[in-house]
Symmetry: C2
C-alpha cells in the first residue's frame, strides 16, 4: 500500500484544512497516511473526526514548524525537526513513498532537493503544475523552481513532463510544446530557440512546436515547457485575473437589484467557471527531478486542494513517475 507523509503544519489554513483534506482523501483513495507535525496538535485535531481510519494512520512527531516566510536555506540548516524535514526523511528512509506539503514553497523545494537528492542525470528540478484548460488540464513546468534555465534544462523538463502527464493526465503520447512568443520555429529568445532544436531532435517526445501564452488555457498542448521565472509569473498573473473577476462580481451584485438578480441566476454557472479556472482547486504540483515524490501544494490550499494534492501523490507513486524519468535519462 502507498504511504503518504503529510505536513500537517504547512499552509495558511493549517492544521484544520490539512486534516479535513486528509480525511476526504482517506475516504476516497487507498493509501496509508503518516501525519507529520507536533503530536499534541495531531491528537487534538483527530478528536474532531470520530470515524478517522486509525488503522490506516501513523502519527509522526515533528516538534518544529517552518514559517511561511522563513529563509529556505536557514530552515534546512537549523530546523532538523521540522514537519517538512521529518516528512521528507520518511521518504528518504523508505518509510513513505511520497511527501505532501502546503508549507513554505521555497523551504519544501530546498529540503526536497537536499534530502532526496536529484535523479542521476537531472540537471535542474522543475515544478509541474496542472493548469486548467478548455478541454481538461495542461501540465506546465517549470513553475518557479529553476529561474535561469538553459536550453538543456528545458529539454529535460519536457522529458519529465512527458512521464508526469502520462501519469496524471492518462495520456499515452502527450503533446509537448515550448512556451514562446510566437508559433514559428524562428521566434523566441536565445534559450527557446536552442530548446526548440533540442526538442525537435528528440524522437521519443511528441513535440508539437511552440505555443503562446493564450494557447495554454485553450488546451493546444498537454505539456507546456518554460523557464521557472516565466511559468511562475504567468501562474501568479492568472491568480490575479481570477481574483479581479471575483471582486468584480461581488461589487456588481451589490450595485443594483437587477445586477443582484442576474448574479444570483448566474451563480451556479459562475461557480462552475471559477472551479474550473481556480488554480487553487488543482491541488499539488510535483517537484520533478528529485529522487522521490514530493508534492508542493499552494500555501492557500483548502481541504479540496489538499485532497487533490494527496491524489496527485498517490497517482505519481502508483505509475512510478520517478522510475520512468530515471530510465529515460539513463538511456540518453
Amino acid at each position: 500500500v502507498i504511504r503518504i507523509s503529510l505536513d500537517i503544519m504547512g499552509g495558511d489554513h493549517a492544521p484544520e484544512e490539512i486534516f479535513q483534506g486528509a480525511y476526504l482523501a482517506l475516504k476516497e483513495y487507498e493509501f496509508h497516511i503518516l501525519l507529520v507535525g507536533p503530536e499534541e496538535i495531531t491528537q487534538k485535531q483527530l478528536l474532531a473526526f470520530p470515524d478517522w481510519p486509525m488503522t490506516r494512520t501513523t502519527i509522526v512527531h515533528a516538534p518544529e514548524v517552518v514559517g511561511m516566510s522563513e529563509s529556505p536555506s536557514l530552515a534546512f540548516r537549523k530546523k532538523k525537526n521540522s514537519s517538512i524535514q521529518i516528512g521528507l526523511n520518511l521518504v528518504k528512509d523508505h518509510q513513505a513513498e511520497a511527501f505532501v506539503s502546503a508549507g513554505n514553497t521555497g523551504a519544501v523545494m530546498t529540503a526536497s532537493v537536499l534530502t532526496l537528492g536529484r535523479i542521476p542525470g537531472v540537471e535542474r528540478p522543475a515544478i509541474g503544475t496542472l493548469m486548467p484548460s478548455k478541454h481538461g488540464y495542461c501540465l506546465m513546468l517549470d513553475m518557479g523552481s529553476t529561474v535561469d534555465c538553459k536550453a538543456a534544462h528545458l529539454a529535460q523538463f519536457a522529458i519529465m513532463g512527458h512521464f508526469l502527464a502520462q501519469s496524471l493526465l492518462k495520456i499515452e503520447s502527450p503533446r509537448i510544446a515550448l512556451l514562446n512568443i510566437g508559433e514559428e520555429e524562428d521566434k523566441g529568445n536565445q534559450v527557446t530557440l536552442e530548446a526548440y532544436a533540442l526538442l525537435k531532435s528528440n524522437s521519443d517526445l511528441n513535440f508539437i512546436g511552440n505555443v503562446e501564452g493564450k494557447d495554454i488555457l485553450y488546451g493546444k498542448a498537454d505539456v507546456v515547457v518554460c523557464d521557472g521565472f516565466v511559468g511562475n509569473t504567468v501562474l501568479k498573473f492568472g491568480e490575479g485575473v481570477t481574483a479581479i473577476f471575483m471582486d468584480f462580481f461581488k461589487s456588481e451584485a451589490k450595485s443594483s437589484v437587477l445586477s443582484l438578480l442576474g448574479a444570483l441566476l448566474l451563480k451556479p454557472a459562475l461557480k462552475r467557471f471559477l472551479k474550473t479556472y481556480d488554480y487553487q482547486e488543482v491541488g499539488g504540483a510535483p517537484l520533478l527531478g528529485v529522487n522521490g515524490v514530493s508534492i508542493i501544494a499552494h500555501g492557500k490550499s483548502s481541504r479540496i486542494a489538499i485532497k487533490n494534492a494527496i491524489r496527485s501523490a498517490v497517482q505519481t507513486v502508483s505509475v512510478d513517475v520517478v522510475g520512468s524519468i530515471k530510465k529515460a535519462l539513463e538511456a540518453r
Copy 2:
C-alpha cells in the same frame, strides 16, 4: 499642430476600421493626419465620410503593403514603398511627429529602429503597453521588443517608462516596479537581481521594489518593468483569459432560460468589465528608445483601438517623451 502619419493598410481589419478610427480621432483630438497607403484605396474609403475634415488631412501614396506574417527584415529590405516604410520616412523627414500602425508588429518594430534610429545612449528599444488595472492603468514594458534583456536594459526601460507614464498617465512621480517572482529583494533570476540593485541606486526614479504577476492588475505600480519575453507571454496569456471568459458567458447564456436571463441582466456590467480588461481597447503601445514616436497598435485593432492609438501618439508628442528620454540619458 501635431501631424500623425497613419498606416491605413495595417491590421486585420484594415482599411475600414483604420479609417473609422481616424475619423473618430479627428472628431475628438486636435491634429493633422497623413493617410499613408495606396492612394486609390484612401480615395475610395473617404467616400464613406462626407464630412471628413479634408483641411486637416494629407493623402500620401504608398503602393506596397507588408503582410501580417511577412518577415520583418525582408520587408524592410524589399518593400521600400510600403505604407509602413513611407509612414516612418515622414517622421524621419520631419513631415510628421508620429507614426501609428496596427500592421505586422515585427515589421513596424524593425523598420522603426532602422529608419528612426535609436536615441543616443539607449541600448535596446522597448514596447510600453498600458495594462488595465483596478484603479486605472499600469504601463508595462517591454512587451516583446527585446527578449534577451540584461539588467542594464531593464534599468533603461524604467527610465523610459517613467517619462511615458508622466505623459500618458499624467502621474508626476510614477511608482516604478520590477516584475519578479517574489516581493523580497533577494528573489528572482540573475537578471532581475542585478536590475533591482541598479534601480534601487537610481535616485531619479520612484522605485518601489518588486511586484508579482498578480499585482499588475491590482495597480500596485504605475510602471512595471520586465524582459520582453516575459511581458509578451503575460500579455498573450491575459488575452487568452479574456477570450475564455467571453466563450464561457456565451455558452452559459445558451444553456438554460435562467442563465440567459441572468446573462441579460448582467450584460451591461459585463460589458463594462470586458471594456476595462480588454487589452484591445487600450489602443497603441509606443516603441520606446527610438528617435521619434512610433505607436504599435494591436493587429486586431477595432476603430476604438485605432482612435486610442492616435490619442497615445498625440499625447506622446505633445509632452515630448522622446526629448525627455534623451535628456535623461544624456545626463547619466
